[in-house]
Symmetry: C2
Subunit: 318 residues, 2 copies
Amino acid sequence: MHYPLAINIIEAAERIKPYINRTPILTSHLINELLDADIYFKCENMQKAGAFKSRGACNTVFSLADSELQRGVATHSSGNHAAALARAASLRGVKAYMVMPEDSSKVKVEAVKSYGGIITFCIPTLEARETTLQKVINDTNAIEIHPYNNYNIISGQATAAKELIEDVKDLDIIMAPVGGGGLLSGTALSTHYFSPNTKVIAAEPEQADDAFQSFYQHKFIPSINPNTIADGLRTSLGTLTYPIIRDHVHQIVTVSEDSIVKAMRLVWERMKIIIETSSAVTVAAIMENKFEHHNQKIGIIISGGNVDLDDLPWIISK
Amino acid sequence: MHYPLAINIIEAAERIKPYINRTPILTSHLINELLDADIYFKCENMQKAGAFKSRGACNTVFSLADSELQRGVATHSSGNHAAALARAASLRGVKAYMVMPEDSSKVKVEAVKSYGGIITFCIPTLEARETTLQKVINDTNAIEIHPYNNYNIISGQATAAKELIEDVKDLDIIMAPVGGGGLLSGTALSTHYFSPNTKVIAAEPEQADDAFQSFYQHKFIPSINPNTIADGLRTSLGTLTYPIIRDHVHQIVTVSEDSIVKAMRLVWERMKIIIETSSAVTVAAIMENKFEHHNQKIGIIISGGNVDLDDLPWIISK
């Protein structure tokens, strides 16, 4: 099995077109002045179900045959993949079984419920998520749709960068956050195929730095129960996402928890858009001067906007 | 002196072009489904200084002669006009004296300071604002730039609706909030000149309903110290804005405080954009079924996005 090809990403874009938003790309003179760069925000926070995950979920669900889907789909996810998959399953008319850690944000749980997803909660460790999912699959015979370790998912996520590349020419850099690596590997492939002179730089929380460690130690190193406010980035790379990242990402940088919250608030205040903690790591990396960004033309994939408005990091931290 | 003409609005748009953003127009399938309408949000929350006020302030400051501006500009404002005027003055290289009520939101005070505005605080009544401003003008000989009772301001604010009309064809309705009436009168004139088949519907807090009262009692009725969470809408109509509104607005509806907060939160959660309380009254009017909105193509001018993120209405109300 080889990496997704350009044609797989082009087909994914066609396949999911009726079910997703072509999200806007926003800019802010003020942010550009503050960060001394020319930044284009690809607003996947305004994607269906509030995150890029709808792309991969729709591509996967609509790639499968009716016979494969008849018992429904199942997955474990801290939230955005679960909501996106529940939505995709509901569009296709099949059941969706979701294993979610019990500390998932309320708004993400509500979103899954609103799309008819059937939730089983578990304790927030990777092991518990995997064993609980196995039990659900044994009980239901549903087909597992992994959040990122799946080439159809990766090809779907790749369509966000494809749109960004189509809409903004001659980007020096494309940035994405990295958790399990679905978005990042897709972004890296789209950049490799459709804008080969553009560098791909990923950002990751210091406190969940498995991708950083794997990338620079040249071997797959999973993270064990990482503790970061960026709840979408607590997962480890997968066996399919790691090699793509190894081969097609140019740099991975890490950021502190404090700067994630500062970057999130900066974007809220200055751009007037709502982004979640996991989306703020890229902006935090620029604020922290973690790579050469001055005067660069940078596309940033804002991964999601699902935030519990009753529970904001700068308010609970008081 | 006659109302601003179409040519005045066209000239205003040319004059301010280098200094303002052509703001994006965003849509949300989910909001459309929830509200059973086809809604286009003109995002003046993403305007320079975070509100449509930059349009009128730039148009006015860049319409004046150097000789008129040499002692600086002065105004009273709860915030967005002050920030916009301070910014416009700074772009033109002149001083800006601002009288602000002492309960102005922190973020709005900071914005004025960031543009070099010189602030005098006063108690939050119209009388105190006016007498304090008079004293400042006596001391400085600055030229007063009224927040809305000024045809250059009105022509500037009118450019937001002009852009909306250019970008979205065949709107059935254009909505704007109404406080002092600068945005609403400008919106009504642009609609009259550039899209005469479109209806203009304004929304106002029940607890600051002077425009509603004036409109339906066919005489100018000021509001006395109104109490609404929509801090930008506490001002009364002006002698220049009232007649334009009387002649060119089709309907004014009022909304409750509770629905303003609900509408604000709905837009934050579903559209992932940050809008201030004053911008939420239009959405609240649709949620409250205050006019025939079903299946209508509606353009809404989202007036601003300056919110104190430490002080959100759904959190302090706990």
